[in-house]
Symmetry: C2
Subunit: 251 residues, 2 copies
């Protein structure tokens, strides 16, 4: 068995899966481990929607911009901030819930993300591969509709899980010193930025990325192609409306 630290250190995101299924027993094990993650005041203000059905995958796929992992992985999990269940319990117990506000949404989102990451690490420790889809917050409104999420519930992230049929090269990370700060934040000088991003910019795949996209710099691939201002502004508006519609922006 691989050492656990190696599992964490050698991991890579897996986007191609074999056709082998994940049986219910194994999936349940992963979810039980996930639910042992820390949760605010032991409220467990999250829910997990399991997508296995082929038709549901087909309908979910365009909401994640047709990333093929949704249809090709045996399981997709949508992790949601969820105060609906907790509120219902409060109301049944003569208690007045005060969780229709932004802080509560964020509390639920934290809870959901800690569970998500724990499920992912549990899955990887069993030899499964995972991929996070950042598209969940972009199309939260449509996902709410498809998954029939009631008021008080907001999808936060989606993870596809399956048995790997690829072993991609491990991607780079910034040097650790680039992302840690001792005691207080030491803001980055021009020299710091040059130093920390040098290896990333010099990678062959980065340079290929720049060329393929007809850009001058790797940073421009992010700002002009992958994560554009106009998209961010558009989806920010939608996400804030979703917060309101789902009942998290009362004052």
């Amino acid at each position: 068995m691989a050492k656990f630290s190696d599992i964490l250190l050698d991991r890579r995101t897996i986007r191609k899966y074999s056709s082998e299924n994940i049986d219910d027993k194994l999936l349940n094990e992963l979810l039980v481990m996930g639910c042992r993650a820390s949760t605010t005041g032991n409220m467990q203000v999250y829910s997990i929607i399991i997508t296995r059905d082929e038709q549901m995958k087909k309908e979910l796929s365009p909401l994640h911009f047709n990333q093929k992992m949704i249809t090709e992985a045996p399981v997709a999990l949508t992790f949601c901030a969820d105060f609906n269940r907790f509120n219902k319990w409060c109301l049944l117990r003569n208690a007045e819930p005060g969780y229709d506000n932004f802080l509560s949404f964020f509390t639920g989102a934290i809870d959901a993300l800690l569970v998500a990451q724990t499920v992912c690490i549990a899955a990887e420790s069993k030899g499964l591969g995972i991929c996070y889809l950042g598209t969940t917050t972009y199309n939260a409104h449509k996902i709410i509709n498809l998954l029939k999420l009631p008021k008080g519930v907001i999808p936060v992230t989606t993870v596809t899980i399956g048995w790997p049929s690829e072993k991609p090269e491990q991607v780079d990370r910034l040097p650790l010193e680039a992302v840690i700060h001792k005691e207080t934040y030491s803001d980055y000088s021009v020299e710091d930025i040059e130093k920390y991003y040098k290896a990333k910019e010099e990678r062959k795949d980065s340079q290929q990325f720049v060329n393929e996209n007809n850009k001058e710099t790797l940073a421009q691939v992010f700002t002009d192609v992958r994560y554009k201002k106009e998209d961010n502004v558009y989806f920010s508006k939608i996400l804030l409306e979703v917060l309101k519609d789902q009942g998290f922006m009362e004052q």
Copy 2:
């Protein structure tokens, strides 16, 4: 060595630590593992502030409502959504960053939380104990001030880490079926809520909790004592202002 699944299943939050330090080498190992967590587009839009200094702990402590873990643990880590570093890189590379909006904040928050949870699991696999402090978002403005976080950076959660000097009883969790949904969200009937919360309500510690707080029900301990509407509303306003002040609410 404990099986990894046992580490995840048997975990408990640790609030009491021995006086033994965590050496830099071990802490760095944990952080390197953490930074292998999935990150949106490999942008790594997070930073980690390490608090070890006694004076800093003393100043940080009241911002976490004097929870003693801050001063008693050898290390506190504040995980932040951080677009400051990425923006600086873009500007140096003739690229116009468009990340001054809510979606980008939430992207950074997701990144930060996945790293946080990975660091926590790595720590627990080494025999360390961890505790999440949910107070970070309450006092984000004051933490920003103390840790000198520039625009583009928002603290999302704080974790204390140390060698356990207690082994508390494991707390309860709702049955798995209470938090998962197959294909679509199946909303909770009165019977569901009764069933799922029964074991929690019948626990001795829950009943003690109700009595100590002079309440009728466990739910009232949450709504009237621990997570009150007036506090949630107050801290929601502050957090939304923090988002604005740190440059994440431009349209």
